[in-house]
């Protein structure tokens, strides 16, 4: 094995691995508990930078006994995952301080990110499994982090059990695939399946069974209906920074696996209808319950959970069409989605830091307290809704739907129409939340805040040891990226995401 090549390609992962060790040590030494998060942020940022710079070039390289592949798709997704993870780590830095032993959050966070990044370049079902579990098990720990909170416990056990079942399903599918092809390597599996197909040795029921199991296991990661029921509960119960991680990093990793497995390894005539069905179900469920959440003034975290289910639905529409163009626009959309969602959740994190609440009701009239953040939050919501205000979200959605529409799949137009109706319905809850924050009178929780602050100031206690609130910084950074991308980057990003798909290796 060529270790030079391995260390060159996996340098970002080595950086993160090193950061895991450093943060573990630091969590023992660091009494102020705030440098661990910053180290993690820096390491992730560095990893993203290294991934962006060091792995340029067009060639497809397989390493580790062809268990890991370095191609355009894995390069793109690793940069995306590490970059967004850096933002999330930053947002968590102060938020996590209120739990016991806050500094230990970040080693776990880093391993979870490592798993997600590795998933971007898996080329073997064994590494796929290990990557998923590295991500999944660490994510369970992240969800359960607020140990004394019963809702955090509950959501953690829910996530653990459903994730274990999903793992079981995935393993069953892998074992069947192994049984057919006597290999776990993607390239070998793919070529043997083609061979078997050509002499019609592959029975239809087996194909259906494997497709269903694979779709089910991956749909769990994507939080797509009907494999979505864990999502609202876990998103609600988890610490908000972990929710953010699940809704962004975990989802990107899921789509990375989905694109690779469905796009290059296992592809048959039953797969696309199944994906279409879960796409439609996700759009319906996500948007329907989203509206109910906002009307019944539930939790913003739950609202965003349902919104993320619906967003998965839109992305699955493009995946179900499974053409190069549509998957390219999927990558573009998931990039923008990741930034928007990070921004929205960072605002929720900040709000929670200030008021300790995440109910929709308490967000009323936030603009009168924090005009800048409210505007940022509204921009994120408008983008999620796909309004052309800051046009990144709008353009990405436009590409997603237009490429799906013209993909040639017979029922693609119907899918796109359903997705469009879904996004129009979704407008309601996004705009309702924005209206609530901007137009309405401040809520009781916000009014109370003022008196608390006055007391804090008169007692001479500083509220935080940071010169700038990290969650707020995250929100501003991500909205800044969003605006800059909207102005200068859409063309570039579209080109990059298209290239990422065209140069995909098997």
């Amino acid at each position: 094995m060529d270790w030079n090549l391995v260390s060159k390609i996996l340098l970002p992962e080595f950086i993160i691995l090193g950061a895991v060790l450093i943060t573990i040590l630091l969590s023992l030494i660091d009494k102020t508990k705030k440098y661990t998060g910053l180290v993690a942020t820096f390491a992730l940022f560095l990893a993203a930078l290294v991934a962006a710079i060091s792995t340029q070039g067009e060639e497809v390289t397989k390493i580790l006994n062809s268990a890991f592949i370095s191609d355009s798709l894995s390069r793109y997704l690793r940069v995306l995952i590490y970059g967004i993870a850096a933002l999330i780590a930053l947002a968590a830095t102060k938020y996590i301080e209120k739990f016991e032993s806050p500094a230990e959050y970040f080693p776990i966070f880093l391993t979870a990110t490592l798993g997600a990044g590795f998933l971007a370049g898996v080329n073997d079902f064994l590494t796929l499994f290990i990557g998923l579990e590295t991500l999944g098990l660490s994510a369970i720990l992240l969800v359960s982090y607020s140990r004394k909170l019963q809702k955090s416990n509950e959501s953690a056990i829910k996530y653990l059990l459903t994730a274990a079942v999903a793992t079981g399903i995935l393993l069953f599918a892998i074992s069947l695939l192994y049984g057919i092809t006597a290999s776990t390597n993607f390239a070998q599996v793919a070529s043997r399946i083609v061979q078997l197909e050509s002499i019609s040795l592959l029975s239809v029921p087996l194909k259906i069974l494997i497709s269903a199991l694979l779709v089910g296991a991956i749909a769990f990661k994507l939080a797509a209906a009907p494999f979505h029921n864990w999502t609202p509960d876990v998103y609600y119960g988890a610490p908000t920074s972990s929710t953010l991680f699940l809704s962004v990093i975990s989802k990107i990793a899921g789509f990375a696996v989905a694109i690779r497995v469905f796009g290059t390894v296992f592809h048959n005539e039953f797969l696309l209808p199944m994906l279409s069905i879960i796409a439609v179900l996700s759009i319906i469920v996500g948007n329907y319950v989203g509206i109910i959440q906002i009307i019944s003034r539930g939790s913003v975290k739950k609202l965003l959970a349902y919104s993320s289910i619906a967003q998965s639905g839109y992305l699955l529409v493009a995946l179900a069409c499974l053409r190069l163009e549509s998957v390219g626009s999927l990558l573009l959309y998931i990039t923008i989605y990741a930034i928007m969602n990070t921004c929205a959740f960072a605002c929720v994190i900040y709000f929670e830091q200030e008021t300790g609440s995440d109910s929709v009701f308490d967000f009323a009239g936030w603009i009168q307290k924090k005009p800048m953040l409210t505007i940022i939050f509204s921009i994120a919501l408008f983008n999620l809704a796909g309004l052309p205000f800051v046009p990144a979200g709008f353009i990405a959605k436009f590409f997603l739907f237009s490429t799906s529409f013209s993909s040639g799949l017979i029922y693609a137009p119907y899918l796109v129409i359903i997705a469009l109706i879904g996004s129009v319905i979704a407008l309601f809850y996004y705009l309702y939340l924005a209206k609530l924050m901007i137009v309405d009178e401040p809520s009781f929780a916000l009014k109370q805040l003022e008196t608390v602050e006055v007391v804090a100031v008169t007692e001479g206690t500083s509220k935080c040891g940071y010169s700038y609130d990290p969650a707020r910084l995250t929100a501003m950074l991500s909205v800044g990226v969003l605006i800059i991308v909207s102005i200068f980057g859409m063309d570039y990003l579209q080109g990059v995401s298209e290239m990422a798909i065209y140069k995909i290796g098997v």
Partner: protein, 103 residues
């Protein structure tokens, strides 16, 4: 009677179903975790059987099942520690009590 691949597969499918059944009806959280172990073991039998019959030289299946075992152990470790935590917080690990977050 010789034991063929089909026997192993049938056995593992049954085991998987038993695990699933136990997972769905158990009220005690420990039993649920155990049921998950059973499901994963069913998959292991699959792998080993396939490796034995189809891939006797490369033994990838056996290797895979080792990984599965390791990760299942990690999963159970996390699960048990979580249950311990929950038991400390609410003196109860009944599955029915984990239904406070809904809708």
């Amino acid at each position: 009677m010789t034991v063929t691949l089909v026997h192993y597969l049938t056995f593992s499918a049954l085991l998987f179903s038993i695990g699933l059944f136990g997972l769905l009806i158990s009220r005690n959280a420990f039993r649920v975790l155990m049921s998950i172990e059973i499901m994963l073991n069913a998959v292991n039998i699959n792998f080993v059987a396939f490796a034995h019959f189809l891939d006797p030289l490369a033994v990838k299946g056996q290797a895979f099942s080792l990984f599965v075992m390791a990760i299942a152990a990690a999963e159970v470790a996390i699960g048990l520690s979580l249950l311990l935590l929950i038991y400390r917080n609410r003196m109860n690990i009944d599955m029915d009590s984990f239904a406070t977050i809904k809708w």
